[in-house]
């Protein structure tokens, strides 16, 4: 009995605490905390080292020199935002009570290739709204679906009704220009209407440890055909640089479907699912935590090229014409079905 108690006492005294490294709530401490969060959790450090020459250790050295103990919050945020911008990732943000630091060059540095006014002209005033989807049948019997944000939900019942309403159309345009993402489920739900087969659309990974290369084995992602009403004719998906995150995944999935042609500009990218963390001073940070790939295991962090590049011309825009929609109509009217398929 005494021996047992002795052993137990010894074990109790050996209790070691499970703690995390802590940083002071000072400019230096917050800088180090942010750098370490990215160093240990961000999922593209190795990829971006190869793709854009990012050296995260060198970034530390360079930006640490700009930190001093007397700087105020605005100055600290500016330095931290500049440091995060080195990642060139729209999923990386620093949230303070005064501002949201962001990197938006992935679309701000490029032509938008759409305007709200032009799209509204094509939608008219008699379009229908099914949850997050606006849709109508245009004069040449081409269906037009506009999905402005995957943050707005859409149900299977909504999609059944939309597809059924558009069933007599010769082709379908899905316009996701300006859609910067939202919920992956809604993006998948829409893409599932475009295939009759189970398709390999990509792979996903997540970090398994703090090292830059600590990743899980890639898991295949499949697009399952919807059990509801599915679209059986050709589809043109309109994309631009603002198509980001969940919308980027929608484009990846749609691109794998046989009847789908993508048209427009590169999508914006954003293939890392963002996680959240925080600094000692209470500022929240968002960062990409797990990457998605296309079906060839290629990164789509910097976007997906369209099948047919197309830009909005200023001349057309001045005439009230959306170059991309007109090009899509032309394609669909010429070949509403794939070769070998009857109409």
């Amino acid at each position: 009995m005494k021996r047992f108690l002795y052993i137990l006492f010894t074990l109790c005294t050996l209790v070691s605490c499970v703690n995390e490294d802590t940083f002071d709530n000072t400019p230096e401490g917050n800088f180090e905390a942010l750098w370490q969060i990215i160093d240990e959790h961000y999922c593209f450090l190795d990829y971006k080292a190869k793709a854009i020459g990012l050296d995260w250790n060198e970034v530390h050295t360079r930006y640490r020199q700009r930190i001093n103990p007397n700087m105020n919050n605005a100055q600290l945020q500016e330095v931290l935002c500049d440091m995060l911008s080195e990642l060139r990732d729209g999923h990386v943000n620093l949230y303070t009570s005064a501002d949201v630091s962001r990197y938006w060059s992935w679309f701000e540095d490029y032509p938008r290739n759409w305007t709200q006014d032009l799209r509204d002209r094509y939608l008219g005033t008699d379009y229908k709204i099914a949850a997050g989807i606006k849709y109508r049948i245009m004069e040449d019997n081409i269906g037009l679906i506009v999905y402005e944000s995957f943050s707005s939900g859409v149900g299977e019942g909504n999609l059944d009704d939309v597809m059924y309403y558009l069933r007599s159309c010769n082709g379908l345009i899905i316009d996701v220009r300006g859609n910067s993402g939202g919920t992956i489920t809604y993006a998948e739900r829409l893409a599932q209407r475009l295939t009759n087969e189970r398709l390999l659309v990509g792979y996903t990974q997540y970090k398994t440890g703090r090292g830059h290369n600590d990743f899980s084995t890639p898991k295949a992602e499949y697009l399952e055909p919807s059990e509801g009403v599915r679209w059986q004719k050709r589809v043109v998906v309109l994309q631009n640089r603002e198509c980001y995150s969940a919308c980027n995944l929608f484009i990846r999935n749609a691109h794998a479907c046989e009847r789908v042609t993508t048209l427009g500009d590169h999508s914006g990218g954003g293939s890392g699912m963002p996680f959240s963390s925080e600094l000692p001073n209470g500022w929240a940070v968002r960062f990409s935590a797990s990457p998605s790939f296309d079906k060839d295991m290629q990164h789509i962090e910097f976007g997906i090229a369209p099948d047919i590049p197309c830009s909005l011309s200023e001349e057309d825009a001045a005439k009230g014409i959306d170059t991309l929609i007109e090009k899509a109509r032309e394609i669909l009217n010429l070949t509403p079905t794939l070769p070998g398929e009857g109409d």
Binding site: M1, F4, L5, L8, L11, C12, L14, V15, S16, C17, V18, N19, E20, D21, T22, N25, A33, I37, H41, C43, S97, I184, T185, T204, Y206, K207, T208, G209, R210, D214, S216, K219, E221, M273, P274, F275, S276, S277, E278, P280, N281, G282, A284, R286, A289, S290
Partner: protein, 268 residues
Amino acid sequence: MKTAYIYRIILFCITLATVPSLQGRDRESLHTTLFGIGRVNHLDTYLSPLEYKGPQLTYLYETRRTLRRNPHILFMTLSQGDFSYADSPAENAHDIGGNIRYDAGWGRQWTNVLLSGLDLTAGGMIGGTLGFLYNDRNGNNPAQARANFTTSVFVRADYRFRIKRQHLALHYQVHLPLLGAAFMPQYGQSYYDLFDRGHYDHNIRATHFGNALSLRQLFTIDIPIRHATLSLGYLSDLRQLHVNDIKQHQYSRSFVIGYVREIKLMRK
């Protein structure tokens, strides 16, 4: 007529219950109910690298009785529930946490050890915990589920004594988990990936001293007041886990107050 019929049934039941008890010695089952209030310190690096601190409410229900066939063997159960609301260091984010935990086990009891009235018990328990921790600011990693199974050892000391004419009892118990299993997502794995996509990846991990060193201690004093027994005490519950490169701890210390009931167990 109807009243007489009911009376006969009650009498029959009392007879059934009483006759066997008269054939042997009655046993006591002690039921202790405690309510606690204290402070908690949370860390879960899946949600945040920072420690959150705040108030915690605790409920404890303990039963213990000796076995009929061997009065030196104590059977004990311990049910615990807790709920906490903790602040980040900057107090601009919050964690809401809750756990329910149940342990049951047996121990060898030595009575009147070293001095009269001191009983010592040592034994083992099996049990499990279900719980959650929710962070109100995070996006795709807003919460962490808790689920574990543990085998643990415990030691308890019960000392009955008297000050003047007042009977008192001191109780101390310490629980130390040895081996078990716990649920944990991978380091950067989202719950969407785990449950929506069904990507299981070593999410049930073996736990042991090296990665889940935890300790629960409960100290109480029982004070009989008329026909009731008041119980006051202190609960220290230190839980830790470090698997899949994710660190968790929940350190709580609570003042507890409650009551003890003695239930006579009748047997043949």
